[in-house]
């Protein structure tokens, strides 16, 4: 199941490489999934069965990969089609966020190698890209959702290295979320995402997150029975 790319990517980090090898069973799931994808597509190409992202750490990594694909595609469109009246400061900030999300996406793609789910096709028709409040509101949604998703899936990660990597990424997503909220004239958090009694972020399970992500996808949707969704 390993490609040359994956082999070299994982070379020199014994822990992660062994862990990937340990998921040979999960790789078989992914292999089956690739087959089922091609077989489930109707001739007219309009009907797609959801992509089952498998189980174990591979499922978590693919889950993150799916969310990062959405975020990267969103900010790519924001920068290529900036909203009316965008300031130089906002353009610079959103460009940097785009770069972070593209790096996250490419990182997961590389780490997953042949176990990666297909590239997803976003559907941002609900977003008015020419309107500042609409775009920044959507950015807030994506960032808050990303943070809640990483927090909610962390305990399912079996390999410490992956847990740490998820932790390295989620705090950057939280930084984005706080900055976007500042641009909107809001505080860094409110009761929609923060438990005001404990000061803890409200994490979300994959079962809660996936329908929200799927709303922004056309073609393949995501399903994750291995993560309880």
């Amino acid at each position: 199941m390993k490609t040359t790319t994956q082999e070299s990517f994982l070379a020199g980090q014994g822990m992660a490489r062994r862990s990937f090898l340990r998921f040979a069973g999960a790789s078989a799931v992914a292999a089956g999934l690739m087959t089922s994808i091609s077989s489930c597509k109707k001739n007219d190409g309009t009907d797609f069965q959801p992509v089952d992202i498998g189980s174990g750490d591979l499922a978590v990594l693919n889950y993150a990969y799916a969310l990062e694909q959405l975020e990267a595609a969103f900010y790519t469109q924001v920068i290529s089609n900036p909203y009316n009246g965008i300031s130089a400061d906002e353009r610079a900030l959103l460009t940097e966020i785009r770069d972070h999300e593209v790096i996250h996406r490419e990182f997961f793609k590389k780490a997953l190698g042949s176990n990666a789910i297909p590239e997803l096709t976003p559907n941002f028709s609900a977003i008015n890209f020419s309107d500042r409040a609409n775009v920044l509101g959507a950015a807030k949604t994506f960032e808050d959702l990303g943070v809640a998703a990483y927090n909610g899936v962390g305990y399912m990660i079996q390999t410490v290295d992956y847990l740490v990597l998820a932790g390295k990424i989620v705090s950057v997503e939280a930084r984005h979320a706080a900055l976007i909220r500042n641009l909107l004239g809001l505080n860094f958090a409110d009761s929609t995402i923060l438990d005001m009694n404990t000061g803890l972020e409200k994490s979300q399970t994959p079962a809660q997150v996936i329908p929200q992500a799927n709303a922004f996808l056309q073609g393949f949707k995501i399903s994750a029975p291995g993560l309880g969704a």
């Binding site: 610079a92 940097e96 847990l163 932790g167 939280a174 706080a178 909220r181 505080n187 860094f188 958090a189």
Partner: protein, 304 residues
């Protein structure tokens, strides 16, 4: 933190869970504290222990250690903001009205984190050092026996590199950023010890992301102040003063540079990422971890 739901969730995720925790299993029999003796408030911790036994992992004291470590950091932060808001109310620290809402929400978060961590730890497991630390605002003209927010915990009280912390708003923001960015990296450094522990790990992650929101917002407030470094961001670029934007004095830089050690890395899990969108973005896209010892080395300037 609904323990009963948790049990159902676990059984849904692992049909063999009930069997794993059967009292007939030798590993489970040894958990003498589990059962009628365990207090409701201690349940999350008991569950952590139960998990380790049920899944055959090495039982360690690290969950308690992690929680005490986190509590120390939260006590430092809660007292810091309690003092700042008291000084702002007294008119001796000029926090702009618009910023004060954010500072007060951070204050509430940090105090809630203290309360939450204490409820999870229970009094029996809280370290004596933490028990001795109060979160009461430090009155002007006095010195705390627990903290020195000037950064002089090892020297003359109040005479550290941030001696104006509660009179100069820019200095206050710099110290606030130092604590929040430290918190983000410190929590991350503990995550591995809590792997697989749904209750405690998820709680730690849900505090960790709030600390990151604090850090980002404080950095944004700094970025919009007069005289802010150019292109100073809510995320961390590179290391040293590029990352901190703290250059008031050499001593201040020396105290805060360790917070950003290793942040200039552009590779993750053995993969060089600077080819994707440049080296600068590659340093920013991932926040690095701080080990327990590195965190303590930073906090030692502020905690007695």
């Amino acid at each position: 933190m609904d323990i009963l739901n948790l049990f159902n969730d676990i059984q849904a995720a692992d049909p063999e869970f009930a069997d794993r925790i059967s009292p007939r299993r030798a590993a489970i029999k040894n958990i003498t504290s589990f059962g009628s003796k365990v207090a409701v408030a201690a349940l999350p911790f008991a569950f952590g222990t139960l998990f380790k036994k049920a899944y055959g992992q090495t039982a360690t004291s690290s969950v308690n250690d992690v929680l005490n470590f986190a509590l120390t950091a939260e006590l430092v932060e809660a007292t810091f903001y309690n003092t700042a808001v008291a000084r702002a109310t007294a008119g001796t620290l000029a926090i702009p009205t618009n910023d004060l809402n954010a500072i007060k929400l951070i204050q509430a978060d940090e105090n809630n984190h203290v309360t939450f961590l204490r409820s999870v730890l229970t009094s029996a497991n809280e370290s004596a050092a933490n028990k001795a630390r109060s979160t009461a605002a430090i009155p002007a003209g006095t010195f705390s026996t627990s903290y020195d927010y000037s950064g002089a915990a090892k020297g003359v009280p109040g005479a550290g590199p941030f001696s104006a912390v509660f009179t100069n708003y820019d200095i206050f923001l710099a110290v606030s950023q130092a604590f929040e960015d430290t918190g983000v990296r410190a929590y991350k450094g503990q995550a591995g010890f809590l792997k697989g522990n749904q209750v405690v790990l998820t709680a730690a992650l849900n505090i960790h992301s709030v600390e990151a929101r604090h850090a980002a917002y404080i950095r944004r407030l700094r970025a919009t102040r007069a005289g802010a470094p150019a292109n100073f961001r809510s995320w961390v670029t590179g290391d040293g003063t590029t990352a901190s934007g703290i250059t008031v004095t050499a001593a201040a830089t020396a105290a805060t540079n360790p917070i950003y050690a290793n942040e200039a890395t552009t590779a993750q899990a053995g993969a060089e990422l600077s080819g994707i969108a440049g080296a600068k973005a590659a340093t920013e896209a991932f926040d690095e971890i701080l080990s327990t010892n590195d965190t303590l080395a930073i906090l030692t300037n502020f905690v007695k």
